[in-house]
Subunit: 324 residues, 2 copies
């Protein structure tokens, strides 16, 4: 039954929600955190919280639990040192949100780690244990690293955790993941900050006239800046590319408006892109297929499915159902 | 009782909602539209719809009604020609959303017009009569032009319409209004279009990973592009300034990230700006005062109130209550 044991390190919004969701699905769960507020809040909700991260990891080693890292990127290296000391042979995954740096840190700290990186695409502008819920991942995408070298049995274990939490699994390489989230998760935070500042530059009158479009466009600027920094700055190279793309498109819009008076091409392209996103999100399924999770080409097949916008929606032993 | 008669020209989202809201407040209302879909939809909802705009305006002239223009900017000039022909002495206001060009067109077409421009800051990404509702303006800001030369009695009439529709009134010059909405209403549409396109450039994987921040940041890119174009392109000079401000801030963020790895100043400034917006929106009132709507300095006082983020929340004869 060791496959149903989960040790969560970090009990903020995401870690706390995974712990609740896995518990809801019948897993045996415990956690630990270095943040006193989250410790107190989780314990007072009746959760099995170890007094220290070391103690939680020792228990994970004794019971062969899956260990989930749910701490901000700047804390990852220190926590990995603790994992290396107390639970080096445990299966390991994470929900940090930037895969390249975490994968590098795991390889450096625990060269033989049984590790598959992950990233559930869910969140709110609130943070901490109290903001979490068992339903946070219902219907969400949960990216799992499908780079060459991943252990397919381990991959299936983490996929089952994600599915049990209510998510669907999107397989991707770390590099493809980081490039994609730079565009759809990190750039939105930078644009929200810029929009909020340009609005405030207009003084009290401008802020008094802000309504739906300004409220929506600046919502994530209400998130804790230190958490947003950790996420965005950890994905520096890919986010710089996304910012260059945005600057190019915004500069073209400015040039066209000032010279010809027209924003047609900017607004038409954006409208078509939004419609494509809505079609993706509303999940007009093009069908399902079964994919074997064994053999030399399994990871390559999974990566191709992710690149095409497909997702894993169920596991059956060594096979999975893929929805396209 | 002529003060409670309203003729609405254009029965889309905004015009249709004003008509319903004024009706709810006890006004005698009728409307007309050149859009067959809106005509049929409004008539089948039991609304008093004249068969032509000319007929609606002739009735307004006969009954000394307030005439409200609720057509997109490109249609304003033609409708003003009809007003000049059939109802040149009626009190006139609008909800077009860009005050400079409408004010100029009114002066050109109807030099002696009794006109006060207006702009309710409410909307949805949907459009047309069917998308409207009597409650659309509840709690919203409704900007009224307070440039020198406005007739204060006429100003109070339009303010009463806005208050009866559930809005509060923000007095501003046309230039101040246009500069403010460029920042908090038009720029958000351009940034949403740019963000949607940058996301779609990442292919199906990126769109499959788009979640809350991407969904919120691109929502208004789902609006009808022709309506967004009319609004944004009609405010060309002020929007160009706002785009330059955004390009400067976004370029600074890109430079800082690429050179030092830090987004601190961008994200901190954006967070403080968002907090200021939330404080404005949640209306932590600093008190109320009574302002006299007669005398040489009344318009100047109203403009100062608007610039400071204040709003008119009630009318009492020739005085109004202002909330700061």
């Amino acid at each position: 039954m060791s496959r149903d044991r989960l040790c969560v390190v970090g009990l903020g919004l995401i870690g706390g929600s995974v712990l609740r969701a896995a518990h809801r699905a019948g897993w045996t769960v415990w956690g630990a955190t270095a943040a006193p507020d989250d410790h107190v809040a989780a314990a007072s909700d009746g959760v099995d919280v170890e007094s220290t991260v070391d103690a939680a990891l020792q228990r994970a080693a004794a019971q062969d639990a899956l260990v989930l890292l749910a701490v901000p990127l700047p804390a990852v290296d220190d926590v990995l040192a603790q994992v290396a000391r107390h639970a080096p042979s445990c299966r390991l995954t994470d929900v940090v949100g930037v895969q390249g740096p975490v994968t590098s840190a795991v390889r450096r700290r625990i060269p033989d780690a049984r590790y598959v990186g992950g990233h559930p695409m869910a969140g709110t502008s609130a943070s901490g244990w109290a903001a979490g819920s068992a339903g946070l991942f219902d219907g969400a995408a949960w990216v799992l690293d499908a780079d060459d070298g991943a252990d397919l049995g381990m991959w299936a274990d983490v996929a089952r955790l994600a599915l049990d939490c209510g998510a669907h699994v999107v397989p991707a390489t770390a590099a493809d993941h980081d490039a994609a989230v730079a565009r759809v998760s990190h750039l939105p935070h930078v644009l929200a900050a810029v929009l909020a500042s340009v609005g405030a530059d207009g003084g009290p009158l401008a802020l008094a006239l802000g309504a739906g479009s300004f409220g929506d466009g600046t919502r994530v600027a209400g998130s804790r800046p230190d958490l947003v920094r950790a996420m965005c700055e950890g994905n520096r190279a890919a986010l710089t590319d996304a910012l260059d793309d945005a600057l190019g498109r915004l500069g073209a819009a400015r040039g066209s408006l000032a010279s010809t008076g027209s924003l047609e091409s900017t607004l038409r392209a954006g409208h078509l892109a939004r419609r494509a996103f809505e079609a993706t999100r509303d999940g007009a399924d093009d069908g399902t297929l079964r994919v074997d999770l064994t053999g030399d080409t399994a990871l390559e097949r999974l990566r191709e499915i992710g690149r095409a916008g497909g997702r894993v929606t169920a596991l059956h032993g060594t096979r999975c159902t893929v929805t396209l």
